[in-house]
């Protein structure tokens, strides 16, 4: 897998750790595409990938990241190209 030559901080750290919310009530986010991995290391690996990383725009947990809107097919294609075989899950948990 090709890794980014630039520091990964720009890609992952700041933006992917959502700032503590100033919400008063829960906010519902719909129509999201999530990448879920079995181990945190695998998600790190994806974040460091120069094609897939920039398309993962929020990290919800060690193993779950959100794909940039409109880029689900692209992420799927890149995952396959990078040798992954992601399970496609439709909808809720």
């Amino acid at each position: 897998m090709k890794k980014s030559k630039t520091p990964s901080a720009l890609v992952s750290a700041a933006p992917l750790a959502p700032a503590e919310s100033s919400l008063n009530a829960p906010l519902l986010h719909t129509s999201l595409t999530l990448v879920e991995t079995a181990e945190p290391e695998l998600l790190e690996e994806l974040l460091a990938d120069r094609r897939i990383g920039p398309l993962l725009v929020a990290r919800l947990s060690d193993c779950v990241a959100v794909v940039a809107p409109g880029h689900a097919k692209e992420v799927h294609r890149w995952l396959l190209k990078a040798g992954h075989t992601p399970r496609i899950v439709d909808g809720a948990a």
Binding site: S4, K5, T6, L10, V11, A14, P15, L16, P18, A19, E20, S21, L23, N24, A25, P26, L27, L28, H29, T30, S31, L32, T33, L34, V35, E36, T37, A38, E39, R50, R51, G53, P54, L56, V57, A58, R59, L60, S61, D62, V64, V66, V67, A68, P69, G70, A72, V75, H76, L79, H84, T85, P86, R87, I88, V89, D90, G91, A92, A93
Partner: protein
Amino acid sequence: MSRTTVYPTLDEYERKLPDLAGRLSGISADKLKKMARVWVGKEAYKLNKESALQMLKRSFRDPEAVRQLAENLTPMERDGLMLMKLRERPVVYTEELAAELLLLHPIPFNPTRGYYSTSGKHYTRLNEMLERGLLMRCDGRNDAFGDSFYSYYVCEAVGLVADFFEVIEIAPPPALPLKPAPEAVAPVARRPGELILQLTAFAQAFDRLGGAQLTAKGQYANPSLAKLNKLLGWGKHDDEADGGMARLFGVEFYLGLFIAADLLRVNYAAREISVNPQAKIQETLELPLDAQARIWAPAYRSLRRWREYSLRDSYYYSESEGGQTKDNALRAALLLALGMLPDSAAWYRIEDLSEAMRQRIGRHFSFGYLHTYSAPWKSTPEQQEAALAKYEADLAASWRNNEQVWIEHAIIGPLFHLGLVELAREPRDKSEALSLFRLTEAGRAALYEVFRQPIEKQNATRASQREQSGQACWIVQPNFEVVVYLDQATPRQLGFIERIGVRQKSDAAIVTYRLTRESVYAALEEGVEARQLLETLESGSQHPLPPGVARTLGDWAARRERLALRLDASVLEFPDAAARDAALASGKVKGVSVGQRFILIEQSEKTLKGSLRLGGTVSYEPNPPRPLDIHDDGTVTINPAQRDLLIAGELAAVAEATENPLRWRITRESVLAARSRGWTAEEIINRLERRSAKSYLPLFLRYAIQGWFGVRDEPGPTALAAAPLLQTANAEVADAIWQCGFLHPHLLARIGGRALLVKPESVKELRKLLDEYGFAPGKEVLLPAQPEKKK
């Protein structure tokens, strides 16, 4: 705008059937009385229009009236209803039923001095059923078929007015007067596995393509055919070179077959062919061959946009679009004739079958113009006899040259290809032509036994046969190749291996597949379970699976479990972990905790809103929120009221963060960093525009991004330089100077209407010349006059 003709499916015609009773009011009183006579006998003539109409409507719904009527039907009417019952639906294609009725009940030929037939004459028997009110046209019209000399329009389908199926028995039709061939040599039969393989391969290729397009004229679009051909690896065939045989392997045949079998659906409005969501293609393809034959034979009968053989002298209607044609009529007659063979297991000559069909339908059915018999005026009986003999000879010759050739192509072509007949040569025939045929087991089931075995029993047999599990039919090699023996494989096994492997090469007996990570992944994604994959592969294998193959397949399946892409997910964001945990504990939210503050919810948005007070909902597809305010200098501000979960992450890829989390900056460095990660200028611009409140990027910033990227054409060269400028009061003065022969050498270029650029070394000389000629150039720049501000 071009208009596409819509051809409703039989399902759609069937849905329109309830309107048929309503259409009676448009029929004349005389015709209504004639129809009423079928139901109530001679009493019908005493009825007026309204009472006849009411009586008919009542009778259509009355099972007792229907039962009584059935007892008084003519044999022709009974056969017509039986042919519809065999189709298990109350609507039928006009061409098919008309030809079948003509074959079963030929019109007696009684020449006097002359005999005319027209292209509409083969509807005679069908028209009799319409006239008696047993059938109605599905287009809402009430006139008979073939009446108009000037129009080739034929309503595609007719429907039953009442439910006769309960009272009509299926009975074998009378046998055709055919003699079996005493001997057949070198018989050839299509291997069942070959056909199933091609059907399965087509279904899977279509599935991968996702759909096919139609042209405005209703034909298959060439790009779709080319893509399907490429996926199937069938290539393009030369129709002329092989007499049309190769066309059978073309995708047009299979597309038509799958559409006619209701496995694919045509959306004329969108000019698109897609998988019928109600159809179970895989299940159909896994049925035993004789059960499948009962699907493919009727589908072949109703096939459109495909032809067995193009006859030079023929004419067709609807041929350029996709409606039913006379091909459908002759196919229906041919398939019925095969059900009328005296012995279902005997060999027959194709020519004899054709002649038997000609005797019954040839006088009224032709792809071309029908011959006419007429004796000269005041002719003697000898002259009449001669004219009649010539008519019969012309008719027979025309049939032999046209319809018989078509029948030969149909039997040797699609019927053989679909495994319904096998072929052989006659002994002592030096031409080596395949002139003999007999029904295969599948052919007998689909064409012969349908008249002799009740439908319920057929269905039961079909269901029980589906349970077949198959025997060992392949060898899995350590190099992941699977060698499949077609004569031992069941349709289900072929369907399975076609799903999990990539076909490498095939011949009539053996097909080789390769198991790859991609093909196994695709099968798992289509719903094949990992355990089922290994078990089915093992149960069909003649030897134990090589340990390396079994282990690797397990690894591939396990690898898929490590990573998931969840589409259309909903996530609930809480202010903190405590609030999230409290919501879960209260039972108001059903879902899975994710990270510190999120829940991946398992309930619908509506249910959630009913149980929990939400701070709002943000939807990201198809259009995400637009919280960004972007300025010329690259400053980006996030509108705090519209801030969403993803915006910071999206900006991070192309912009620099500042101390204020709501402010970002697009700079040369941020753009170059994005470029180093593989982004293009267009991708950056698109991402920003997709989230910009104004839906576009400031033009200056767009050029800046392209400039930083080093895009060659944008923003284009610019220059900041001091060059002597000669300005004039108006364009005419500028023209005069620019065109002046002795001034021109001192000038560089004309810019705009009233200005010229001067060569720096010529300033003095030019000033002197202009002075000399009275222009008196000043030294201050002439600024354009500012428009007065309105008070």
